[in-house]
Symmetry: C2
Subunit: 392 residues, 2 copies
């Protein structure tokens, strides 16, 4: 998004364009001084003042004298986006849990709810019904109703209408969830692949801020990847998400995967594989796995050796991803965020040594996500905000 | 490239911009009528006439009455780019062979030469010396000297100055080949990864014309990949090429690869693996391998079973690539172009069935390259033409 209007636009269009750009900037960067907004958007201070005044009148932003002054002269006023000025509903559907949140401008979670998903209530229509049931009470608590919905699904989703082609770990195929939701809740619905949305959130609000070429990889029951290329979310043919890293075959003849293939990466580094490595029940709840990983981190190098084989598979797959996509940064999400720091450091080191592309780049960084299990929820919110903010 | 000038440009800039756009169009699409150029560039016929007249005066294009007339009225004149109007030198460096060609506007090869590369003359300085030696005689034959050089190297290349970080199969590391060439031949030198350039050529002049999301995979001694995403060449961090598919580990604990890892895809589907599958010497020359593959294609299904294991590895790796990058089309290049048609059909079918992303896309197409071993040479020429045409 730039603040330069194209030739032939009318003053109204210019103002609208600039207002949307300013709002987007506040939404992503948070409170900013008028001076920094002027610099970032390439507009003069009087234009910024007029825009901010207009937005303040509408209650979208508030202005304050900054606590800390820099330099002499009159301090530049700090412009704060008001979360309640535009609220979206974010939904994160997973194999074992679903979460919903109302998210305000700036990415602030204003209210949230979640429920366990299991064998018995994982059917599309049941998940849909639950969403509708939870919608009323969640919205009732808030002063501002949502204006759009963003949904994260662990599968292949058609962006135009939120049709879920296939979500293997949910055992979903050909589910028109987007159409169901928009009809029932009478709001525009935007749906995307969970890992793609996680990557977006990490890029805007997480450890990948400012990085141009990033791969986000998350482990839950399934393992998925999202790619930021040249600062933008990368998509494949027909606008489909890319980065189905979990179904990269790394162990020919290995374990049978939900997708039908054998030896998929997720059978070696997904939730169940992690449970096996930790020596706990394969169906352990997420909380128990995280607790076990955290405990392991405190017990020293000896204890960590239990993860050796797991680390080997993690490294192998990450090396493949780095060789194929050449990112400067790999962000590990969800369950992977609980990996002890020495394990992450070891993986990073091994990828740097073994991987042709990483060597040439002077080393790919591998970090864990600071957003943790909220990444996909926040990414779903961004999907909804995209249209909301550009149409402001 | 668009034909719409941005606001504030002067008439001269507008004319230059439009002329470059028209030339680029002729370079890529070949002979076109004035009418189709007007439509494609969104310019009126009198502007097109002025531009074409100017280019014709400079000897860059020629105009002819088309042989076949369509419709009534005066026929729209056919505009033909004149190859000699701008010539570039393309160089394709491989493990076993190097080729040089003078390429004119429109992608026509005007003159070419090549030599065998082997253990004894594969050192960077020897390859460089050979290029310089061949340069004089090649250029002497032609009326127009080249104005830029494009070089394809099977390795990790820095685009800004043609520094070769690592080309494992050539055993090259840290070679400033770009600087050597530009100093010695006093021409601008543009260098890129071989598979990336192959992808560019396939997209402009091969089987991927008009496709937006394409992966090109070529097998020589090494196996490499290039990616076209949304119609553009995709690059990774720091502008590095992406798609090092040959070094994707698919057989943990498998054969040791030049890159240092074990079980890289190229150890299972590269030239040597193909020789093993065919039951011929691993060091067989390319011609012998191609002849053997062609012969196999004529001997029916029984004979093809010899390739079963090879096909299995090819399918596995392609499935991974499709799951990660979600292309609509995979183009197989170099040695793979000699694969019998039923083998390619079988691979395509298997990728469609096994691959989550391909299923959702309604099937990825897998085809062999019509450009064959010229793809990288033509891609190198395009790298040089990029600047030549935009600065016209």
């Amino acid at each position: 998004m730039t603040s330069t209007p194209t030739a032939g636009t009318r003053p109204d269009d210019v103002r609208r364009h600039n207002r949307a750009a300013l709002l987007r900037r506040l939404h992503v960067d948070g409170p900013s001084t008028r001076a920094s907004l002027a610099t970032a958007l390439g507009l003069n201070r009087s234009t910024i003042k007029a825009l901010v005044d207009g937005l303040a009148e509408d209650g979208v932003v508030e202005e304050r004298v900054p606590a800390q002054r820099s330099g002499a002269g009159r301090p530049s006023l700090l412009v704060l986006p008001q979360p309640q000025a535009a609220v979206v509903l974010a939904i994160d559907i997973r194999v074992e849990r679903a979460a919903m949140a109302l998210v305000g401008i700036g990415g602030q979670i204003l209210a949230r709810d979640s429920w366990k998903v299991r064998e018995g209530n994982r059917e599309p229509v049941e998940v849909f019904t639950k969403i509708v049931d939870y919608f009323g009470p969640l919205v009732a608590e808030q002063e501002t109703p949502p204006v759009a919905i963003g949904v994260s699904v662990p599968g292949v989703v058609r962006h135009s209408d939120g049709f879920v082609h296939e979500a293997p770990n949910l055992h979903w195929a050909d589910v028109p969830l987007g159409a169901w939701l928009s009809r029932e809740l009478t709001l525009p619905v935007h749906m995307g692949n969970d890992a793609e949305l996680g990557a977006v959130a990490e890029h805007l609000r997480g450890s990948a801020r400012g990085a141009e070429d990033v791969v986000y990889i998350s482990a839950d029951v399934g393992v998925g990847g999202g790619v930021i290329s040249n600062g933008l979310s990368l998509r494949g043919a027909g606008g489909h998400h890319i980065g189905e890293v979990g179904h990269m075959v790394v162990r020919p003849g290995g374990k049978r995967c939900y997708c039908g293939a054998q030896g998929c990466w997720e059978t070696e580094v997904g939730e169940r594989a992690l449970c096996r490595a930790l020596g706990i029940d394969e169906d352990s709840p997420v909380g128990a796995i995280v607790a076990e990983l955290r405990a392991l981190g405190t017990r020293g190098p000896e204890a960590l050796s239990r993860l050796d084989e797991f680390v080997e598979w993690l490294t192998l797959g990450l090396g493949n991803v780095v060789n194929l996509l050449c990112p400067q940064l790999v962000v590990l999400g969800d369950l992977f965020t609980a990996l002890p720091a020495p394990v992450v450091a070891r993986v990073e080191q091994a990828v740097r040594e073994r991987c042709l592309v990483s060597r040439a780049l002077g080393g790919t960084r591998v970090v864990t996500s600071p957003l943790g299990s909220d990444a996909k929820l926040l990414g779903a919110a961004e999907l909804a905000f995209e249209t909301v903010l550009s149409d402001w």
